[in-house]
Amino acid sequence: MSNVLHVATRKGLITFRRNGADWAASAPAFIGQPVSAVLTDARDGALYAALRLGHFGVKLHRSDDHGKSWSEIAAPAFPAVENPDEKTPAIDMIWTLAPSGKDELGVLWAGTIPGGLFKSPDRGATWTLNDSLWNKPERAEWAGGGYDQPGIHSVLVDPRDSKSITVGVSTGGVWRSSDAGRSWRLTGQGLRAEYMPPAQAFDLAWQDVHRLSACAAAPDIVWCQHHNGMFRSTDGGETFSEIKEVKPSVFGFAVGAHPSDPDTAWFVPAIKDELRIPVDGKLVVTKTTDGGKSFAAHADGLPGLSYDLIYRHSLDVSEDGARLAIGSTTGNLWVSDDAGRRWSHIHGHLSPIAAVAFG
């Protein structure tokens, strides 16, 4: 189990380290500054933190000594255009950072709001917009989900083949490339958007994918938390089957696949559009161990009355699938050491949590 947990909050990056039975918090890095994404790159030990400075824009920092010191590196940026005006897109937020495969040491992907996909060949020293996806005509149908502008929040690189990449867009569906991003296909047949008129409910481009998570040992298994419900793919994200009637709710943001068991995954449900709080005010984590046929809702250690939402990057699963962490919009942090059955409250006075990542 990982004994290090990085927590990206509205007021800085805080690293918790297991100390006996407890977790000890580090002094925050970037104190007072919004951290929108964090990545621990297991290939080289580098730690990345994306900032969304309210006044001074999006920044990216890298640490090569586990967070002791940081260096600012280049942030993704859209290429120059002739005569930009007030509508010309600019990076508002780095929503996700993802490593490429083990055969591409130092290669990173970044998903941004608005919906740009960027690639760095050199550990973030330089970034290039993926023109092929950006120039897809279907991108005109992408729309804002939780934010005013659409964004890319999930980048899955197939551990068997670094050229095989699956991207999740809110809203804009699931996109796949089999040639390292040179070309893209809109996939996700079976995803259903109840919030659209019936004739467009299965339109691939209108799907509000909240988060994708793949089983590392069986990458064709891709779990999807969607605005409209929960879905599972057995073909890498080409098609999905809907998982219905899960109590207390099929709505949520986060999903975590078990790293080695393709039938196990965790979700954190909430009430849908009408009220964004846990169902009956009770925070639970739902878990399936049979491929989504059935779910158990685990509340042991979680509050009986709360307003905590777990955003899409705020659930992480350690490499062995035994230790989990969730962080909430209310600044609460919990860890489970028994695969999600019982939860320990680690901290209750953090600021809103954007992401958690074991390191």
Partner: protein, 89 residues
């Protein structure tokens, strides 16, 4: 020479000492500063050179009118102040 003065709040992120520039517009003044201090650029303007949404720029006591191309004229005795807006915090 035009003087360019930055909010001290930016200093915690990036070095931004006051500077002087031989410039006839806000754009020329900032380009001069960024040429000397390249890391400062993305903190003040976005990738298209537009003022960031929550940055305010004043020429002496008046706010700039062109936030996209920064063509507001400046005179040699002018001071350009780069402030963070109250919004955006």
């Amino acid at each position: 020479m035009v003087q360019v003065i930055f909010t001290p709040n930016l200093q915690r992120h990036v070095s931004c000492p006051s500077a002087v520039a031989d410039a006839r517009s806000v754009r020329e003044a900032l380009d001069h500063v960024f040429a000397v201090n390249p890391q400062l650029r993305t903190y003040v303007v976005d990738e298209h050179g537009r003022l960031r949404k929550h940055i305010n720029v004043y020429i002496n006591d008046r706010t700039v009118t062109d936030r996209i191309t920064l063509k507001d004229a400046v005179a040699p005795s002018d001071e350009i102040f780069i402030f963070q807006a109250l919004s955006g915090g």
